[in-house]
Amino acid sequence: MSNIVKNNPVVKAILSSSRILVLLVLVIFFTAVTKGTFFSYKNLVNILYSVSLIGIMICGACFAVLLGGIDRTVSGNAALSGAIVAMTILRGGVGGGNVALAICLGLGAGILSGLIHGLILSRFNIPAFLLTLATNEILYGFVQLVTSNTLIYVNGCTLMDYIGQKRWLGIPIPVYIMLVCILFAYIILNHTVYGRQVYSVGGNRQSSELSGVPTRRVILIAYIISGFMGALAGFVLSSMNQQASAGQAKNYENNVLAAIVVGGVSMRGGSGSIQNAILGAFLIGVIENGMNLMGVPAIYKDMAKGIIIIVAVAMDMATQPGTPLYNFMKRFKKKAA
């Protein structure tokens, strides 16, 4: 009987990742404290909605991190894309053709930004952190130029109203967009040659190059995907807010990277998965939502969030052979025995 339980794939998954375990414990705890409100359909939808933007960005930024790089421009791309879409609609009206043009321009800006970053990073040995830290500022400079530092309101655009306000089965549209993005990233990373190349280049660029992997192209495509996802998130954000501003999505890159790291994706590249990165985002989303429902005062929230994240990551490291924490725990257990 115990074997049947142990061999159950769900039980296996839970036991294999302590992040899922922590998530489960948190869900049970918040459900108990809020007398079931936390686990209601409506609230779970709220959590999904609250992580949808970050989730879309992760689906792009994760590629860069898996390659051992980093893309801090997801927020800049989002802001620029949102601003371009809003400005084009403001200038050209809410007609179908113009809206299509606006979206093409917005997403195109993200792709172009990704292309430039990919070209530079694949050809020159510049630290990705440094480059994208600087270019994110440049992108925000462009956003200020596009918006002239004013709020750009979008009124009466059917598509943006639809994305920002409509629901299917009680679930907001941005959640579906996130799910499609996750599916896209999952398939690319796990079921294509390109996905295997990403892990290979992230693990060891030199040996991948020697074994014939087109490393430059792999890096280039990764940053294009990242740029596109950032821009898509920006369009969704502008639809949610029915506006674009010059400071939109600022500092979102920190939340995106935090979620990716909490999800156990190695910053050195080559290991981790999109599902775990998204799990990281959910973990943070669940903590924030749960504490909101409990009415925890704001001053304690950041502290509690930090502690729970450290516990989740530490538990994970303690169960992974090879990590210092694992070795420490092993020695500790031996001594105790």
Binding site: T37, Q144, T150, L151, L237, N292, A298
Partner: protein, 355 residues
């Protein structure tokens, strides 16, 4: 063993850092109290001969080349743009003037550095929305001592300077409390969507709101959470409020319009538009449109463009006088009239007044 020691040392460091952080937060919380006392005493006129000095200015501000700077807390915010536009519009009547905008991006030390740099560059006047009154005190004093009047908008520095042109915040909080109490008939539950923790304007609005609510014992604050002035965060916070307190919330007070709009959208998505009163503050264009559409209830409107123009006029007045503003012992404050706007009078805010 060494590793263990290293871990312990780093933990100690983290704890001490956290302690420093909370000390800073405490300082920030003290700020509004000082601000308010300053505002209350400001009605007593400055007695002639008591600290007020005079000096001859060599430049004619309406003819000689004049260089001005506008340093908001964050150039990308809607009201910063509106103030900047107001200043620019007023100054543009005089072709000898030039206005440059600087963006410290919410960083008080950076803002202080910009002010010091501008003093060194010999600017003729500085328009400033301080991020933190204490941090900016030294550099504002430096500017005043160098004969450069500093006219602050909305947030002054903790040192006497030429003038402060301010929106109301404590009073706006009071007005909103009164209006919510009136709408609820003195009985009901309110949730508050707060500004970024430590933001002085948010603290003052909240203080005014809380102080006035003491007159209405039937009104209870169910919960308060910050959404950092941010629309999408406010939407998430409001969603969580609606889940945590189903059918209990009667009214929402958001510390700015962006957050009120976010709350309005969450309430709309929950199908409760019109059932919950939602109040914001500032009076930006979109909030006025949302009031017209019935998505939010009301806001306390300030004509930010006019506020910028007022600041510019005060600046020109000083520069064309022989008043030495560095000898002031307290900052003269002028307040912009707050207009409480709801569906009944929103049309009185004409397009040219919207920002």
């Amino acid at each position: 063993m060494k590793k263990l020691a290293a871990i312990l040392v780093s933990l100690l460091l983290v704890v001490s850092l956290a302690a420093c952080g909370s000390a800073n937060a405490a300082n920030a919380n003290n700020a509004p109290a000082e601000e308010k006392t300053e505002e209350k005493t400001e009605t007593t006129p400055v007695a002639a001969g008591e600290g007020l000095g005079f000096k001859d200015r060599t430049k004619n501000p309406y003819e000689d080349p004049m260089k001005f700077a506008w340093i908001p807390t964050r150039a990308s915010e809607a009201n910063a743009t509106a103030w900047g536009n107001g200043i620019r519009e007023e100054l543009s009547y005089w072709s000898n003037t030039e206005l440059n905008v600087f963006d410290p991006e919410g960083d008080a030390e950076q803002q202080a550095k910009i002010v010091s740099d501008l003093v060194a560059q010999g600017y003729d006047g500085i328009f400033l929305q301080t991020i933190n009154p204490q941090t900016l005190a030294a550099s504002v004093e430096e500017a005043e001592n160098a004969g450069i009047p500093v006219v602050c908008i909305n947030m002054g520095a903790d040192t006497p300077h030429a003038a402060l042109v301010s929106m109301t915040d404590f009073e706006a909080g009071q007005v909103i409390a009164d209006r919510i109490a009136e709408e609820l008939g003195g009985e009901g539950n309110v949730v508050v969507i707060q500004a970024k923790v430590g933001a002085v304007r948010g603290i003052n609005l909240e203080d005014g709101f809380q102080a006035q609510l003491k007159n209405y014992p039937g009104i209870k604050i169910l919960d308060e959470q910050p959404a950092d002035w941010n629309m999408e965060k406010a939407q998430t916070v409001m969603n969580d409020f609606l889940t945590a307190y189903p059918d209990q919330i009667d009214a929402v007070f958001a510390h700015n319009d962006q957050m009120a709009e976010g709350a309005g959208m969450a309430v709309q998505a929950a199908g409760k538009t019109g059932e919950i009163y939602i109040w914001g503050a500032n009076g930006e264009t979109k909030a006025l449109e949302y009031i017209e559409q019935g998505i939010i209830t009301g806001t306390v409107y300030t004509n930010c463009k006019d506020q910028g123009k007022t600041a510019a006029r005060i600046m020109m007045l000083y520069l064309n006088s022989n008043i030495d503003t560095s000898t002031f012992t307290k900052t003269p404050v002028t307040k912009m009239p707050p207009i409480t706007v709801d569906a009944s009078n929103v049309s009185s805010i004409t397009p040219d007044m919207r920002w």
